[in-house]
């Protein structure tokens, strides 16, 4: 296989990571809403933790994007 083609395939495969992060981010907000609707009084106090979870899940998806960018433009 040509090296250029392999790089582009690798960059495309990195998009799987972005999809996985989408599952993660959806899980964070979904679980938050589920429990926030059970106990709306406690929901506002947990918003900080919500965004920490969101940030952690999102970062891993962004790493997949970085991998794709490195494969296309750097490697």
């Amino acid at each position: 296989m040509e090296a250029e083609a392999a790089k582009l395939i690798g960059a495309g495969l990195a998009a799987i990571g972005a999809g996985m992060a989408a599952i993660g981010v959806g899980n964070v907000f979904g679980s938050f809403l589920e429990s926030a609707l059970r106990n709306p009084g406690a929901a506002d106090g947990q918003q900080g933790r919500l965004f920490i979870g969101f940030a952690a899940a999102e970062l891993l998806g962004l790493l997949a994007f970085v991998v794709a960018m490195i494969l296309i433009f750097v490697a």
Binding site: G48, F51, I52, F54, L62
Partner: protein, 263 residues
């Protein structure tokens, strides 16, 4: 990959160019310190932020709209530090407020549709050098505060309470690396989130332009849905601009909490 003729190059928007000529403004050992578009947009952000905050400093008993807007943001940051750090958090309000507002204004300015009047905004938060420096400042504050307040007891941060003794070396190593990775993850998150959004918008805009160039049928099939998606993504990007600024400030305040209180 060089852009082919007539194609929209999605990475072109991130090019740093010296303004007012390419000759060196100041020369320190061969380092070019020319005034770049990145520096210009940082200056514009700073000026806008100063104007915004100065407009809210009237301290009227019944605040007007402008003062309400500024007080909303200061109160927001104050509450965040109160919730995450406690009453010692008050003294970090100026730093976290500046950090949050600077990133927020930069992100939003970069999204402004000023291209229609010929001014192309440059999102400097989409550069690792800029976000890296912001992250290093935050990390340096954590280190300075931690060692100032706790001395060498600060290293107990790496061993959480109740760790079984056989686990201490492994946990300490993991905690040490997760501590050292913080500035990178902080900087990487902001820079990649902003860059990914702008690349996505540019790629979609190239779909719109190429579709229109290819004829009426393809324009209806490709360009119109792409344009609708661009509008939706732009709205999402405004949300992301706010969330990323908030996350940066929130994580910085959490790290400061670690430095203030250890575990």
């Amino acid at each position: 990959m060089a852009a082919e003729e007539g194609k929209v190059d999605p990475m072109h928007q991130f090019t740093i160019e010296p303004l007012f000529g390419t000759e060196k403004l100041l020369d320190f050992d061969g380092i070019n310190l020319a005034f770049t578009n990145s520096a210009m947009w940082m200056a514009i952000t700073t000026v806008l932020l100063t104007v915004f905050v100065a407009g809210g400093l009237k301290r009227e008993l019944v605040p007007g709209r402008w003062q309400m807007a500024v007080e909303f943001f200061t109160g927001f940051i104050d509450d965040m530090l109160e919730a995450n750090v406690g009453k010692e958090g008050r003294k970090y309000v100026p730093y976290i407020f500046s950090l949050f507002m600077f990133i927020l204004f930069a992100n939003l300015l970069g999204l402004m549709p000023l291209g229609v009047i010929g001014v192309h905004p440059f999102t400097f938060t989409s550069h690792f050098t800029v976000t890296g420096v912001l992250a290093i400042i935050s990390f340096a504050i954590v280190l300075v505060v931690g060692f100032w307040k706790h001395g060498f007891k600060f290293f107990s941060l790496f061993v959480p309470h109740g760790t079984p003794l056989p686990m201490v070396p492994a946990i300490a190593l993991i905690e040490f690396f997760s501590f050292l990775i913080r500035p990178f993850s902080l900087a990487l998150r902001l820079f990649v989130a902003m860059m990914a959004g702008h690349v996505l918008l540019k790629v979609l805009s190239s779909f719109v332009i190429d579709g229109i160039n290819a004829g009426v049928g393809i324009a209806a099939l490709v360009s119109i849905p792409s344009f609708a998606l661009m509008i939706a993504i732009s709205a999402l990007e405004i949300l992301v601009a706010g969330i990323q600024a908030y996350v940066f400030a929130l994580l910085t305040s959490l790290y400061i909490n670690d430095a203030e209180h250890l575990h």
